[in-house]
Amino acid sequence: MGETSINFAKASSAALQDQQLRGNFRRAMDGLMSKRAVQFADTAEWNGVRTLGASVRLRALSKLPELLEKLEANCTKNGIQVHWASTTDEANAIVLSIMQRVNAKLVVKGKSMVSEEMHLNAFLEKHGIESLESDLGEYIVQLDEAMPSHIIMPAIHMNTKQIAHLFKQKIKEAEYTEDVAQLTDLARRVLRKKFATADVGISGVNMAVAETGTLCLVENEGNGRMSTTVPPVHIAVMGLEKVVEKLEDVPPVISLLTRSATAQPITTYVNMISSPRKEGEKDGPNEIHLVILDNGRSGIYADEELRNTLRCIRCGACMNHCPVYTKVGGHAYQAPYPGPIGSILMPQVEGLEKRGELPHACTMCNACVEICPVKIPIVEIMGRLRSEAVHPGDAVKGAGSHASKAEAMVWKGWSMTYASPLAYQFATALLAKLGNAAPASLPLLKEWTNVRSKPRFASRTLHALAREKGIPDV
């Protein structure tokens, strides 16, 4: 992706015109919201497990460097090879070098947000390696040559008919059908061949346990288990914030994750991997590699307030409940992470020059904060990033890049006027006389009048009216 700034406003207004898309999202999100509410109907339990989950994540962050060292030591002891990458380029290079050493031609991938962040598929293809998404949603999106539009349900923007056409068009042996069971079966047949013959399996990591050197993966389909068990080499990629201190920290986080994400008490599979195939074992990969990625996270971590972003367990509940996301869908954000969490994470990772618009894709309604299972103050961080976008600073890359001279002048004038009673009287009198004559096409006013009617000024000021009624002016 280029360094140009991403245009959320344009993409979202296009999305709003698409009735099909809006319908697909609305239905899916409404269903998820009500099902999730049932999972957390017991308020005392929700409060208890949420407080516990938030404490697990905060405790992990409070000891982050030590826990990462411990994770590395325990993984290494278990036979898992640990790699560190400061940037996505470096992470891609690490993955490629492992593949080249084992002469890999075909890779099967489980769902992984970090690999989306790395644009790993495109990178591998450039180097002649076929990288196949094996999560059904990701597979659909890959066939469609599109991007995932939700972090949990990548193909949520499509309906069955659209997927049926896509399969017919892209899969050789496909007969046209709108029967979901048959479509699923077709994907099963295609992908099973690939699992059996792949040279390398790639996965993400939902949580890595420092205490035991264990990688935890939750999923419903079994493609994650396939990718991490059948090929002779398994490469796991994770953001450095994914570590937790103890094994006993895993159950509360999984409980919050699966219930918040898809309203399931638990996913079909909870997969805990602690070592490659041992002497005498008959299956499992002979090598496991863990790539720990920074990509700006250590910078986020340095800031007391922004570091809360790193608590996120990627459940997607904030997007399901966001009035903006549910209307425009995930593609409008043009980012691996859409919705509220994407709006605060992307500008921090990729810089405000490129992503400074995203914190504005928010009504500040607080729905995401109320739903977030680990209590991330998303809206506060959103406000902070809005102001960083227009004020020079050093916490976030590109701070001040969205400052506009005209806007700055207007605010300065506004504050001067409000600070001086005389200037204020003069300005309000002037607006009462001439305000209505100002054309709607005036800079700044234009942005407002694009979608709203022009404000009408009263012919007399409130102060004048008060004086007429005999209320003394102060």
């Binding site: 389909e221 396939m226 638990i266 805990m272 991997i273 070592s275 041992k278 074992e281 299956d283």
Partner: protein, 223 residues
């Protein structure tokens, strides 16, 4: 790549030390206090797992091999992958061919490295049977720890997975199962919770079973 390692850890340490974050206490009471009594546990496990298309076969210590065989025969299952070196596997093979039990599906031992029979495993096996370490009432999950005798793919590749569950090996929560049994002292290569057959809702939120793993999960409850 240790340059990156040191740079990353150095940055994290500097960031944290400049703005320390006191570690909060974690109160596990919400998990510690989740309890069901004996009979309720199994009922709950069945209810939760049935809700996600799991099937149950009730049997006894004395009869389970015969009952499993009769069940598979009735389903038209052609063969069953099993671990011959486990106690359950030894019993299965001893009783499978005993008089009066002939005619059941073919027993296929998982006795060699997967590389030797990958193709057959992916293409020609109907069912696999494994033991479990118990089940969890809170979420309706089986605890499965594959071993050299019962490899990982037995519960994943065959179209049907049969799991033996002893009715007295039940836990209230995942947290209790791992803390009571001190899992943290030694995790196996792979530990699993399995809560139903493989499934997906990626096509317009419509549930479909058996997308990659087993299409059917049959829990054999042994009392």
């Amino acid at each position: 790549m240790s340059e990156s390692r040191n740079a990353i850890l150095g940055k994290l340490r500097a960031g944290r030390d400049a703005h320390p974050l006191p570690p909060p206490e974690s109160d596990f009471a919400v998990l510690r206090n989740k309890r069901w009594d004996g009979a309720e546990r199994l009922e709950r496990i069945k209810r939760m797992m049935e809700a996600v298309h799991t099937e149950f076969l009730e049997t006894t210590e004395a009869d389970w091999p015969t009952d499993v065989q009769a069940f598979l025969k009735a389903q038209g299952t052609r063969n069953l992958l099993f671990g011959p070196a486990t106690e359950a596997g030894a019993r299965l093979s001893a009783e499978w061919t005993a008089s009066g039990m002939a005619g059941g599906p073919e027993l296929i031992p998982y006795a060699d490295r997967v590389e030797t029979f990958k193709e057959r495993l992916f293409d020609g096996i109907d069912a696999g049977i494994t033991t479990t370490l118990g089940a969890i009432a809170d979420t309706g999950s089986l605890i499965v720890w594959p071993t050299p005798e019962e490899p990982r793919l037995m519960s994943l590749v065959p179209h049907m997975h049969l799991a033996l569950l002893r009715a007295d090996a039940l836990y209230d929560t995942f947290w209790q199962a791992m803390t009571e049994n001190r899992w943290a002292d030694g995790m196996p290569t792979n530990a699993l919770l399995i809560s139903g057959p493989s499934k997906t809702a990626d096509i317009e939120q419509t549930l479909a079973y058996g997308v990659h793993g087993p299409k059917r999960l049959v829990v054999v409850i042994i009392r």
